[in-house]
């Protein structure tokens, strides 16, 4: 593939995507992505596990810190919480707080 064509693809992509969608923190969105398996797409739970979409951010952070410390008993969340940093809890909290059920 000649470089000229590659450049055209990049320009086309850039023009298509330059828009108002820069509000989403893509790194936070990426961190949150694997939570969907249990908590639903964008934290919109289809049952069982708690809904995270729209969850109050302070409540999210407190819950994750309590899972991490063991202050709050859990079957599985303590094992996940221990794998993340407190800063990541903040990013996740902001992401989920901004999700609206739709």
């Amino acid at each position: 593939m000649i470089p000229y064509r590659k450049l055209l693809v990049v320009i086309a992509g850039f023009l298509l995507f330059t828009s108002a969608h820069a509000e989403v923190d893509k790194h936070a969105r990426g961190l949150a992505a694997s939570c969907s398996a249990c908590h639903g797409t964008d934290g919109m739970s289809e049952g069982g596990m708690p809904e995270l979409a729209g969850l109050d951010r302070m409540l999210f952070i407190k819950s994750m810190k309590d899972f991490k410390s063991g202050a709050r008993p859990a079957t599985v969340m303590h094992q996940h919480a221990k794998g993340y940093t407190d800063e990541e809890f903040e990013l996740l909290a902001d992401f989920f707080a901004a999700q609206k059920r739709h």
Binding site: M1, A12, S34, A37, C38, M49, Q79, K82
Partner: protein, 425 residues
């Protein structure tokens, strides 16, 4: 057509583009005319379907996505062992691709890929070809029969099902179980790792034991494990066998099956011949053979090496590999495939804009094993990208359930509901 597929691949390698070879252009039609940026996804399982959906979702429907899948419907392999136990039917695990088509505008092509041309960025099927800017190959696994005398794909379909891809073989294996006499033996053979779904075979032993305990209590489950020990959730599986199904389940490590006699349902190991009433041989696995069409199986000619920031193949920069086919110190699970799919989708969207992908991907993986109609247990772990090792490594704190429980059984059901929703709806 006088020009064979092998000739075409040689011609492509020599740098001849499709359009300049009139004979081939006449024979192969462009299945969907390419107008703008396009990602083609091969394989509509947990990995491929998720990748297709998330490229549309996170790309604001601006990138065309073509999904090529040979099966008419999606059937979940996770939880399919409960079809053997009897608490689910295969229909409970079967979903349509319609929502992916209608809600996300994914173009679905039902068919099998026959060739991939990385230089001309084209995927070939029997009925025509499709061009791509980026290709995602999510081919799952295929089975290696050459080490098991008397077993091949035909025999597996007919009488010795592996049922390691949920569908017809799962139903067949369940039927064989139901037809088994009381006092019979259900033998399951587990291949040497790595294989799809490490705890799966042990979960299957539990589900079969559950069915037998309630219907044919004099029967036995014999596990012939090629591995030196139980590969996942060992203590929890042994507790389940000893406490829920005492005296019914026998586990034999270092027992690789090297041959089968389909007529007599006899399995041959290094040390003995084992006759069973139902014989479930799970053969050793490799990445789905579609990977070979572009030389993607760079590790032991078996699994696909990738860049863990983008899932780009080590063989070709514009081709990404996700799911079970990936060579990694990561469990080959449905959840893992969906997570890799999302990392790849985000990376592709960034790269198509000339932007840098996320340099710090992190994955939380949860895997439930259901040991009866009600009880389950899990293993959970977070994985992070390590820039020095250029690989995903395990983070702090992961582990398994303290014990199995009905609560975890309930969570396992909700896990299934939520993940299937996330993949297909």
């Amino acid at each position: 057509m006088s020009f064979s597929r092998r000739d075409f691949i040689k011609a492509s390698a020599a740098g001849i583009a499709i359009g300049t070879f009139p004979g081939l252009a006449f024979a192969s039609s462009e299945l969907i005319k390419k107008k703008g940026l396009r990602v083609v996804v091969v394989g509509g399982g947990f990995g491929g379907a998720t990748a297709a959906k998330y490229i549309r979702k996170w790309g604001n429907n601006k990138i065309e996505v073509v999904l090529i899948e040979r099966n008419p419907v999606f059937i979940s392999c996770p939880m399919s062992n409960t079809v053997l136990g009897g608490s689910r039917t295969i229909e409970d695990l079967t979903l349509s691709y319609n929502v992916l088509k209608k809600k996300y505008g994914i173009k679905l092509i039902k068919g099998e890929v026959t060739a991939i041309d990385p230089d001309n960025q084209t995927v070939m099927l029997a009925k025509g070809h499709i061009q791509y800017d980026r290709l995602i190959v999510s081919p799952g696994v295929d089975f290696m029969y050459d080490g098991i005398e008397g077993l091949n794909a035909k025999v597996a379909d007919a009488s010795i099902p592996h049922a390691w891809k949920a569908g017809a073989q799962t139903v067949k294996l369940r039927k064989q179980l139901v037809a088994m006499p009381d006092g019979g033996v259900f033998a399951i053979s587990i291949p040497k790792g790595p294989y799809r779904c490490p705890p799966g075979p042990y979960e299957r032993a539990c589900q079969v034991a559950y069915y037998l305990k309630n219907n044919k209590p004099k029967s036995k489950v014999l596990i012939l494990d090629a591995n030196p020990d139980i590969t996942s959730k060992k203590g929890l599986f042994m507790a389940a066998w000893n406490e829920l199904y005492p005296g019914m389940v026998e586990y034999r490590p270092n027992s690789m099956v090297t041959g089968v006699n389909a007529a007599t349902r006899t399995a041959k190991t290094e040390f003995e011949d084992v006759k069973a009433d139902v014989l479930n041989v799970i053969p050793p696995m490799r990445s789905g053979v579609v990977a070979d069409m572009a030389g993607l199986a760079t590790v032991d000619a078996r699994w696909c090496g990738v860049n863990f920031l983008t899932y780009e193949s080590k063989a070709h920069r514009n081709i990404h590999v996700i799911g079970d086919a990936v060579s990694a110190a990561l469990p080959k699970s449905g959840h893992m495939a969906t997570s890799q799919a999302k990392i790849a989708a985000a990376a592709i969207i960034e790269m198509l804009q000339g932007e840098r992908p996320d340099q710090n991907p992190t994955i939380a993986n949860t895997c439930y094993s259901v040991v009866s109609d009600k009880e389950a247990m899990h293993v959970a772990n977070v994985y992070r990208y390590n820039a020095e090792k250029q690989a995903m490594v395990s983070a702090e704190g992961g582990g398994v359930s303290a014990s199995r429980s009905e609560l975890e059984g309930a969570f396992a059901g909700y896990w299934l509901k939520n993940i299937l929703n996330d993949v297909l709806l």
